[in-house]
């Protein structure tokens, strides 16, 4: 990582000494200023020094402040559950107008942010996670955000096909997931604030999750399910999913995010209720 020039440190010191410990974490003066502003706004004054020390030790700001805005929701964040990312927020905002009155499965729900974002579409939503602590956080978020649509939570391991999983997913019309997608080799090189603070269970994974999503969740429900969106970490994962659903005659495309990365693989049944063609940045 490039060193931060001493001049920037000096400028930070002159502007506000509290910026200095934040600089190595945010790596830019404007970033440090933004974080200090949010900390000052949301942390009670006596706790501010503690919060700054925490942050200077690379603890994610969202864990210190305890929440993250996500579309019009405020999502509670806690150690042990992945912090929602803006990339996820972005693709959900794009897909939401296409969805109304369907049964939605959100596999690997974490804080529940994806599932809860579809509140207001008149849908029946089920969030699945393997981790019970994630599910209780998701339930909390459902209540604190007053999500009135029918939302249920289920504890299942999507990698194993069980009766439970079968039962939960029955009749699904739209399948979404942001599964762990960071291959192990990449995981070891991640930033400290991700690697040391966010749960490995939520991050490390690769094609096995996409296999599970297609074989265990989509294929048993091909007659009711008309579309899916899976977040991905690289273009290889997109190709993999495309090849898996090709034999069912599904249309496949992908979404890019605003930072220019491949972000989602999108599939839809040719004569189904969703026409995601207009949504995709590229259609195969």
């Amino acid at each position: 990582m490039p060193r931060i020039p001493p001049s920037v440190f000096r400028q930070a010191l002159r502007t506000d000494p509290l910026l200095v410990p934040l600089l190595p974490v945010t790596r830019s003066l404007s970033g440090a200023q933004a974080e200090l502003r949010w900390l000052r706004k949301e942390v009670p004054k006596p706790k501010l020094p503690w919060a700054i020390v925490q942050r200077s030790n690379y603890r994610p700001l969202q864990y210190i402040l305890g929440d993250q805005p996500f579309l019009d929701l405020s999502i509670k964040c806690a150690e042990g559950t992945l912090i929602p990312r803006w990339e996820t927020e972005e693709w959900i905002a794009r897909i939401k107008p296409f969805i109304s009155n369907v049964k939605i499965i959100d596999a690997c729900t974490g804080t529940g942010c994806v599932a809860l974002s579809f509140n207001g579409t008149g849908s029946n939503i089920v969030g699945i996670d393997i981790d019970t602590s994630c599910l209780s956080l998701a339930k909390f978020n459902q209540q604190s955000n007053r999500c009135d649509d029918i939302v249920h939570w289920a504890q299942c391991d999507i990698l194993n096909w069980t009766d439970d999983l079968h039962h939960v997913c029955k009749g699904v019309n739209f399948l979404v997931s942001n599964p762990p997608y960071i291959p192990w080799e990449e995981y070891t090189k991640l930033d400290r604030s991700v690697k040391n603070f966010e749960p490995q269970l939520a991050l490390v994974g690769d094609l096995e999750f996409y296999n599970a999503l297609v074989h265990n969740l989509l294929e048993p429900n091909l007659n009711t399910c008309d579309g899916f969106v899976f977040e991905v970490g690289n273009v290889n994962q997109i190709h993999h999913v495309r090849d898996l659903v090709k034999k069912h005659g599904w249309n496949v495309g992908y979404l890019m995010d605003s930072a220019g990365y491949h972000r989602c693989v999108v599939g839809w049944k040719p004569d189904g209720r969703f026409d995601f063609k207009k949504l995709c940045d590229f259609v195969y």
């Binding site: 994610p60 700001l61 972005e90 605003s258």
Partner: protein
């Protein structure tokens, strides 16, 4: 009317012959119209015939609408709105006419040599009526002028320091505070959309959204260069510095909490580019950055909006789009005004020119608005939001005068043709 003129002491030869004379008398600025001096000539309160004509047309429209309702035909929401607009104007017009007739009759009594015992009584009543008539005449005038297209909207104010370095940045911050306080005093909802602080507690830019529908009507007069003359706290030799801050006032076209994707779809893809901070690595689960800055570039206009205040990138994008749309609307309006102006040869009113509009002289505890010459001798009262409205209302009155003058010129020109 004719009866009055005959009895009035004013010799007929002095009566207005050309309509231009109607404008020499300005109810607001004429000193004779204030309560403690002599009784004003009733002509002072007469409106230009084109405004009277407009008032008549509007009351005819109201009658037609009333017939429509009593006839039982359907009454749409826009009809309802129009109905209440028209009723308000017509009520003011009626009140104005009543007051004016009253005033004229009292004046007759006042000058009636045959009944000297009534003179005192008439004078007393005239003095009471005069300020009321002044107010209602100027109110009516304002209502009859065609409304500004954005007057019913909420607004966004953008502040930026001009000349004067640190002191300008600090003054800009004071102005931001003034507008926040003003909104607070008016009980208008507002929120600061963004601000970039400097090292010395100033700002390099700030955006405040005043979310009250119709706030644009008053706030639009804040647009322009504001000049401050004071001794900065950092100044050791006690010298007065002059610095400036620029204010831009935009109509709030869309809410900044709406879905920015819907906003984005309203533009052609090649017209617009949305940039976000590209984080290290591959994004997504790989990083949990808090860097949520967004920048939107609108190519046809060259407008660039950057927003980084919110923790959610989605919210930053929504705010940036709200500002972009407000700037585009304002630009379109300014161009239209400019074109209309080019078509006329007349002198333009000073209100729309963007030179120094106001001076805040702290040393003399005085704020002077250069558009109307109004001075308030209470800098603190203005800066804490409680007395800013007095200045704005003075500017508004002046603006309405100028606009009716323009209206007259337009009509005279079209008469000539």
């Amino acid at each position: 009317m004719l009866k009055l003129l005959r009895n009035s002491r004013v010799p007929r030869t002095h009566l207005p012959r050309c309509s231009r004379l109607w404008y020499i008398s300005r109810p607001y600025s004429t000193p004779t119209a204030s309560a403690d001096t002599s009784i004003a000539d009733p002509r002072t309160f007469q409106l230009h015939p084109s405004l009277i004509k407009r008032a008549r047309l509007l009351s005819e429209e109201l009658t037609a609408l009333q017939e429509k309702i009593s006839g039982g035909s359907s009454f749409s929401v826009s009809d309802q709105k129009r109905f209440s607009e028209l009723s308000i104007i017509t009520d003011t017009y009626t009140k104005y006419q009543d007051h004016l007739t009253n005033f004229q009759e009292l004046q007759e009594l006042f000058h009636d040599e045959q009944e000297p015992e009534l003179k005192n009584e008439a004078e007393k009543e005239l003095r009471e009526l005069q300020p009321e008539l002044t107010a209602v005449a100027s109110d009516l005038k304002a209502k009859l002028l065609p409304p500004h297209p954005f007057d019913s909207m909420a607004c966004i104010l953008e502040l930026r320091p001009g000349v004067g370095g640190d002191e300008a940045a600090i003054f800009s911050k004071d102005m931001l505070e003034m507008y926040s306080q003003f909104a607070h005093v008016k009980k208008w909802p507002y929120h600061i959309m963004s601000q970039v602080r400097t090292e010395n507690n100033g700002i390099t830019s700030a955006t405040i959204s005043i979310d009250e529908p119709g706030s644009y009507k008053l706030m639009k007069f804040e647009r322009g260069i504001h000049r401050v003359q004071r001794i900065p706290e950092t100044e050791t030799k006690g010298r007065t510095h002059t610095s400036t801050a620029a204010v831009v006032v935009l109509p709030k076209i869309s809410e900044d909490n709406e879905n920015p994707d819907a906003d984005q779809r309203e533009f052609k893809p090649e017209e617009i580019r949305v940039d976000v901070m590209r984080s290290r690595g591959k994004g997504g689960q790989h990083v949990n950055t808090t860097d949520s800055a967004v920048r939107i570039t609108h190519f046809p206009s060259g407008i660039v909006v950057a927003m980084q205040d919110e923790r959610s990138q989605h919210r930053n994008k929504a705010k940036a789009f709200a500002i972009l749309r407000a700037r585009l609307a304002e630009r379109e309006r300014a161009e239209k005004v400019e074109n209309e102006r080019k078509m006329r040869t007349s002198q333009v009113s000073s209100t729309d020119r963007s030179d120094k509009i106001r001076t805040y002289n702290f040393t003399q505890n005085r704020i002077t608005d250069h558009r109307c010459g109004f001075s308030l001798h209470d800098v603190g009262g203005c800066m804490n939001g409680t007395r800013l409205e007095e200045i704005i209302l003075a500017v508004e009155k002046n603006y309405n005068e100028e606009r009716s003058k323009e209206l007259l010129e337009i009509e005279e020109n079209s008469d000539k043709k």
